[in-house]
């Protein structure tokens, strides 16, 4: 983004380009810049810096804060869902570690009974986070793993159950139905509230909004975890998801190590997005 002081046509074009390249979507980018031009004129904003500050505020304002952070809820059962490869398993591991370190009694459920070595992958994370893992053999019904996990959670008195599910495309009717069944079983078996968190990759383009809508329609989501922000993608699609579906962004994934998960701060996120 050009940082000269002048708020000329080139500046506004530059701004719109920055938002589009950040994956905010051409429609949202045009709306935001359009609104900002009106504000800049009406309020006679003095220079580019003043406009950028207002822009950061406008973007941050589009993302609702979490009135209730399911990842801080005590007690709670949380399902982690999303399309393939977004970072669900890794995020479950990181969140488990942080929660356990802060005194929560965490239990993990490996409900990805489909993909090669999915259970083994989560097992490593459970060991790293030093929390128990409930698993069944590959090919079992994921709902049955959830059932077992919640039974075990009651037995040992866990106050936080984190359920890793298989990646799935929202376009697969069968897999979305499987997920609804997993949720039904969780709700039936959990003595604690059941929440659903969508894990989305920061490199995702406009399809991310379609994904989120489908998962939200199927399950009713309670929040978003946005991963891979340590790359160059800005995760702008999360702004649209957050705003359009009224979902809070709960955490940001910023790397592959166990400590690489950060709390979400809207202003900080907006500032990084505008770059």
């Amino acid at each position: 983004l050009r940082r000269g002081p002048d708020v000329d046509d080139a500046f506004w074009d530059d701004l719109e380009e920055t938002l589009i390249v950040a994956d905010m979507g051409p429609g949202a980018a045009a709306d935001i810049v359009g609104d900002l031009r009106d504000v800049a004129r009406r309020e006679a904003l003095p220079d580019a810096a003043a406009v950028i500050d207002r822009l950061v505020g406008a973007i941050a304002g589009r993302m609702p804060a979490a009135e209730n952070d399911p990842l801080a809820e005590d007690p709670v059962t949380v399902l982690f869902v999303g399309v393939n490869g977004t970072g669900k398993t890794t995020s479950v591991g990181k969140i488990a570690a942080a929660a356990s370190r802060s005194g929560r009694k965490v239990l993990l459920a490996s409900a990805d009974t489909f993909r090669a070595a999915a259970i083994e992958q989560l097992r490593v994370w459970a060991q790293r986070a030093e929390v128990p893992l409930v698993e069944r053999e590959r090919g079992s019904d994921p709902a049955s793993v959830v059932y077992d996990a919640l039974t075990e959670a009651r037995r040992v008195g866990s106050d936080m159950v984190l359920v890793d599910t298989a990646g799935r495309l929202h376009t697969s009717k069968d897999l979305m139905e499987e997920l609804r069944k997993v949720q039904r079983v969780a709700v039936a078996q959990s003595v604690h509230p059941v929440r659903s968190v969508l894990v989305i990759d920061a490199t995702t383009g406009q399809n991310g909004l379609v994904q989120a809508r489908q998962f939200h329609d199927a399950l009713g989501l309670d929040g978003i975890v946005l991963t891979k922000l340590d790359g160059t993608a800005k995760g702008g699609i999360a702004v649209a998801i957050s705003r359009d579906l009224g979902l809070p962004i709960l955490r940001l994934g910023v790397g592959e190590a166990i400590e690489d998960m950060q709390p979400f701060d809207a202003t900080e996120f907006a500032r990084a997005l505008v770059g």
Partner: protein, 291 residues
């Protein structure tokens, strides 16, 4: 979709005769919007619309009774042209074993693609071996070994945790086991991770692949070009596999990467299953991007 939107733009024209500059502007705006919504790279869209405008003010549109349809036809033609040809054959040298190396960002589908590719090559009469060079991700080697077992294709995991050494040793292992092509699966890595990009370059130098393929997720947004350009500069690759095309992402990233790097798209991933790798069809991809 774009057809409908352009019909809307040109609907007001009937009886007015010649298209005005404003009409062409409106049409170009719709095309730009459609392509950006499909995740085509910003710079690629800019260039594309500029070229399109040249054709849109030409006779083929201006003299047409259905200018909207004509613009759509031109857009499809131009997109298809940009997508490149159908080059789904992998070029191999005479050496033994041949080497294919897969690279890409985290979670793009490399490990799955490696196994699918091994399956495909075996169907073509080759004797493939999979090589597990991801020593970082928990159970990554497990994952490749499981897929290899299911396919009854050998997986070489080497000793120790140096991906360069593992890759190098795999060549000898392949010769000993009379395998004629090795497929090297590498760890997902960020193009801004200097050490990891350097590692990829070193693996490549160690085994001199016949083909380096970058695996790119079909749902990637504007970042696709940034990443692909960096991989092309730092590691260089010969072709692209676009994964997860069984979703409904429009796939503009594929066009962008092809257009900016010039690297052909060799295959597309269309399912999680081992037979889910298909040759790339540029015209189908163009139509998909247009929505």
């Amino acid at each position: 979709n774009l057809s409908d939107r352009l019909q809307g733009v040109f609907a007001k024209l009937t009886g007015r005769g010649k298209l005005s500059e404003a009409d062409v502007d409106a049409a170009m705006r719709e095309v730009r919007l459609a392509l950006l919504e499909a995740d085509v790279n910003f710079a690629v869209v800019k260039e594309f619309v500029a070229r399109l405008r040249e054709r849109a003010i030409g006779a083929e549109v201006m003299k047409s009774l259905t200018p909207g349809q004509q613009v759509v036809k031109i857009v499809l033609e131009e997109l298809t042209g940009l997508m490149g040809g159908t080059e789904s054959r992998l070029a191999f040298s005479g050496r033994v074993p041949n080497v294919v190396m897969l690279v890409g960002l985290q979670g793009s589908g490399k490990t799955t693609a490696a196994a699918k590719l091994a399956n495909l090559l075996r169907k073509q009469g080759r004797r493939p071996m999979l090589v597990a060079c991801d020593v970082y991700r928990p159970a990554a080697i497990d994952q490749l070994e499981t897929l290899g077992r299911e396919l009854d294709i050998p997986v070489y995991r080497g000793e120790g945790s140096d991906p360069v050494a593992i890759a190098r040793a795999s060549l000898k292992a392949a010769v000993a086991d009379m395998r004629d092509v090795v497929i090297v699966d590498t760890a997902g890595r960020l193009h801004v991770d200097e050490a990891m990009m350097d590692e990829a370059a070193r693996i490549k130098t160690a085994v001199k692949p016949d083909q380096v393929l970058m695996v790119i997720d079909a749902m990637t947004g504007q970042d696709a070009v940034t990443a692909a350009t960096a991989f092309a500069e730092r590691v260089d690759f010969d072709g692209v596999i676009v994964s997860k095309l069984d979703g409904d992402a429009r796939g503009g990233a594929a066009l962008s990467v092809r257009s900016v790097t010039g690297k052909p798209i060799k295959f597309v991933g269309v399912s999680e299953k081992m037979d889910g790798l298909e040759p790339f069809h540029p015209d189908r991809m163009a139509r998909r991007i247009l929505g």
